[in-house]
Each structure stands twice: as C-alpha cells, then as structure tokens.
C-alpha cells in the first residue's frame, strides 16, 4: 500500500476487554480528502484519535505527519481565554489571521467573547477557525458542521475546501451527512461491524 501523508496499519484496538476496532489499513494521500462514516458508536472518533496520536494503546503501527490539526466532536476550547486568544495561543497564529478567520466563520467582532458567551454553533465555528489557523498538513474533522443551519454549513464547507486546496492539505472528515461527504471528499470510507472494520470504500 502506497504510503501517504498518514498511514495506519491497525491490527486491533480494545477498550479493556472490548474489541472496538478490528484490522484496518488506512492511508491518506497528500491533498486527498477522505470522508469517514458509519453508525454512532462504531469507532469513528476512536480511529481519528489514533490517527492524531492521542491514543497509542493499540496493536499496529502508525506513521503520521508533524502538523496535524483537529476539530474535535465537542468544541474543546479554553473557557478562560477569549475567542481570538483561543486561536492565537493554540496555533501561534497572529492577531490579524485570527481576526480574519473569525470573520470567515461568521464571528466577526466576537473575538473578545469567552467561549461560555458563545452559542454552541458559534463555539464549533471557533473550533473550526482554530483548526484552519494551524495550517496543518493533515486536518481531522469530527462532525464539524453539526449545530449549524444549512446556509452556514454551506459557507463553512466552502471555506474549509478553500483552505485545504490552498495548502494542498489532506483531510479526514467524519460525518453522517451524505451530502457533506460527497461535497468535500475524494473517497468515502464506511466503518461497520463489531469490532469495526472498513465495510465499504467508494469514490463519489
């Protein structure tokens, strides 16, 4: 199998005695966008965490790039830092970039708000802006567009696509929405079964 930006050769992943993921071979080519889908509880987030290097308690091997950014399934912001600082402190972006990105995700002028003062959808957009500011080689997105109204989803998709294309960055997007997957991805991978494996791979 051709080595890509990231390549995972997973034999198995357990939580305690529970097998969660079975044998999975997963690689992403430079610039490629992969959508990851599968039922709730299948193991999508677990797989993403393994790719991100956050979970190393598995059987198998991983080779990953240095610059990864992630949009977690929950916003995972620093509650004690304002929106702009959440972007700058985490990614090292400068104030102008932060300002621009806040504008692009529809949070213009809210840079001084603490996460607790934002609606959940606004927090998600902030998390997206943060990930984009990191300018990663690989972007991992765990259902980034839920809680957004359809018009906003469209805007965010366009924005994400543009950033990915500009940097030729690879991406893995977890989503339940067929439309999102088809719109953004070069390849759709579906997890299923217990322990979960790749049950289908298609090109939209």
């Amino acid at each position: 199998m051709a080595r890509g930006v990231i390549a995972l050769d997973l034999a198995s992943k357990h939580f305690g005695d529970r097998p969660v993921l079975g044998p999975i071979a997963f690689a992403v080519a430079p610039g490629e966008a992969v959508a990851l889908t599968g039922p709730s509880g299948a193991g999508k987030t677990t797989l993403l965490r393994i790719l991100a290097g956050l979970d190393r308690d598995f059987e198998g091997s991983l080779s990953a790039p240095a610059r990864i950014a992630m949009v977690f399934q929950e916003p995972t912001l620093l509650p004690w830092r304002d929106a702009a600082a959440n972007i700058m402190l985490t990614t090292g972006a400068d104030a102008a970039t932060a300002e621009r990105l806040l504008g692009e995700v529809g949070l213009a002028g809210r840079g001084a708000a603490y996460p607790g003062q934002l609606s959940l959808g606004q927090q998600r957009r902030l998390a997206l802006a943060r990930a984009l500011a990191a300018e990663p080689e690989l972007l991992l997105l765990d259902e980034p567009f839920v809680s957004l109204d359809p018009a906003l989803v469209e805007e965010m998709l366009t924005l994400t696509e543009a950033v990915l294309r500009r940097r030729r960055a690879a991406s893995v997007l977890v989503t339940h929405s067929r439309a999102e997957a088809e719109r953004l991805a070069d390849r759709i991978v579906t997890l299923g079964g217990s322990p979960a494996r790749i049950v289908s791979e298609e090109r939209p």
Binding site: R49, T76, W80, A85, G116
Partner: protein, 260 residues
C-alpha cells in the same frame, strides 16, 4: 418577573465598603465580648489594644518585627509554593511517582513542626536559612496535597487538544493547566500563607531573637494579653491588606471568564 440571575457566581465589584463594614462589625463583636468579659487582662478591648499597637508601632519594635517576620513568611512561601506545586503536579500526573512518594508525603505532612524545626536548627545552625527552610519544609507537604488533587482533576480533553496542536510546554502550562489549577493555587496560597505565618511563629519562638512570634511568646510568658493581641492583630492586619491588594484582584482577573 424580571429577576436577577439565580447563580451569581462571579464576584462583582461591591467596592471596599463591604469589607470595611465587615471589619467594623468584627471590632464591634470584639468590643462587646471585652465588655462582657470585664477583665481587661484576659480580654482587653480594642480601646486598649488599639493605642497600645500605635505605641508599639511608633515607639516600640513592632515595625522591625513585622518586617523580619514578613521577610521570613515571604521567602518560605515562595519556596514552599514553588517546590510544592512542582512536586504536587508531578505526583498528580504520574500514578507511579505518586505511589512511591505518598508515604513520604504523609510522613512529612504529619511530622510535628517542632521536630522539623529543632532538627533544622541543630543541623543548619541557629540562623535565618535554617528558619526559612524549616518553615518551607513544614508547608511543602500541604501544598503538594492540594496541587496533586488539582493535577488529578485536570481535563484530559483539553490536554489532548493541546497535544494535537503541539502547544509548547510553557504555553500549555500557562494557558491550559494554570487556569484549571487556579482554584487549587488559591486554596493552597491562602491557607498556605496563614499556615506559614503560624509556623514562623514557632520558628521565631524556638530560635530567633526578633519577629512577631518572638514577641508574642515573650509577652505570653509575661501574660501580657494586650501586647500579645497587639502583635498578633498587627500581623492579621497586614494579611487583610495582602488579601485586598493581592489575592482578591488576582482572583477577579483569574475568574472573570466564569462570570459568563
């Protein structure tokens, strides 16, 4: 039906008036107690202790003594908070280290101050270094105990986030961990400075020739309660100042985000 929010959590300004009124109330309670007690040798009222304190301040050694004590308190505090926080956080994060060091922690936590102080004086000598180190050694375990709990309660999700984004260790400490540890630091700091000052009293009693603790014990031997109170309360006053000038403003800054 417009009511104020039920959870008020965030401390609003309120000004120094409440604090002053509260202190006035405290003095009033003391006055009443003194009037009821009726024996000024056992519980002298504010009208006795007040002028006496003033006298000790302008004509007596109070200022020098407070200075000496404050120096010891400050030095020991810095050492104890620094080492204690470092060790406590390390123990909170590594269960292995924790299992090894926990018995030592309990040991030093429960070793009587007297024993540590006397041993320090005998080993290091009857000097300032021994005094400060003995106090710090007494306080370190309690800082460790508090900060360890703080480190254990750190949010793993934020830690993961910091790891993915490759935040530098320093940025992590400042922006991810420190804010979560802040309540523990506040608890350890406030009760820490009080505990340290209490141990400094013992240290001064056992082997120094100045300081508030030296005076308090000396006047206690003479059963001069008014002077004991004059020295004790002067230091309490200093602490009230530190609370108002350092702790409260720091806290207001550190918890602004919670006000929502």
């Amino acid at each position: 039906m417009a009511r104020p929010p039920v959870r008020s959590g965030g401390r609003r300004g309120g000004g120094p008036w409440v604090a002053l009124a509260s202190i006035a109330l405290l003095i009033a309670v003391w006055s009443v107690a003194a009037l009821v007690q009726r024996d000024p040798r056992i519980l002298p009222g504010p009208w006795i202790v007040g002028p006496l304190t003033w006298h000790e301040l302008v004509a007596g050694p109070l200022l020098t003594d407070i200075g000496a004590t404050l120096r010891r308190v400050a030095l020991s505090f810095l050492i104890a908070m620094g080492l204690g926080a470092g060790l406590g956080i390390a123990m909170g994060r590594s269960s292995r280290l924790d299992r090894w060091l926990d018995p030592w922690l309990i040991f030093f936590l429960n070793l009587p101050a007297l024993v540590l102080i006397v041993l320090a004086y005998l080993w290091i000598g009857l000097n300032e270094t021994a005094a400060v180190l003995a106090v710090a050694a007494n306080k370190i375990p309690t800082v460790v105990v508090t900060m360890r709990e703080g480190a254990r309660a750190l949010d793993p999700k934020l830690a993961d986030m910091a790891r993915v984004f490759r935040m530098t260790p320093l940025a992590r400490l400042r922006h991810v961990e420190a804010p979560q540890l802040a309540p523990y630091v506040a608890a350890a700091g406030r009760s820490g400075i009080a505990l340290i000052w209490k141990i400094v009293l013992v240290v001064e009693f056992l082997g120094r020739s100045n300081g508030v603790g030296f005076r308090i014990h000396m006047y206690f031997q003479l059963f001069d309660v008014a002077r004991v109170l004059a020295y004790a309360l002067s230091f309490v006053a200093v602490m009230l100042l530190i609370e108002a000038a350092v702790f409260r403003p720091w806290e207001r800054r550190a918890t602004r985000w919670r006000a929502g």
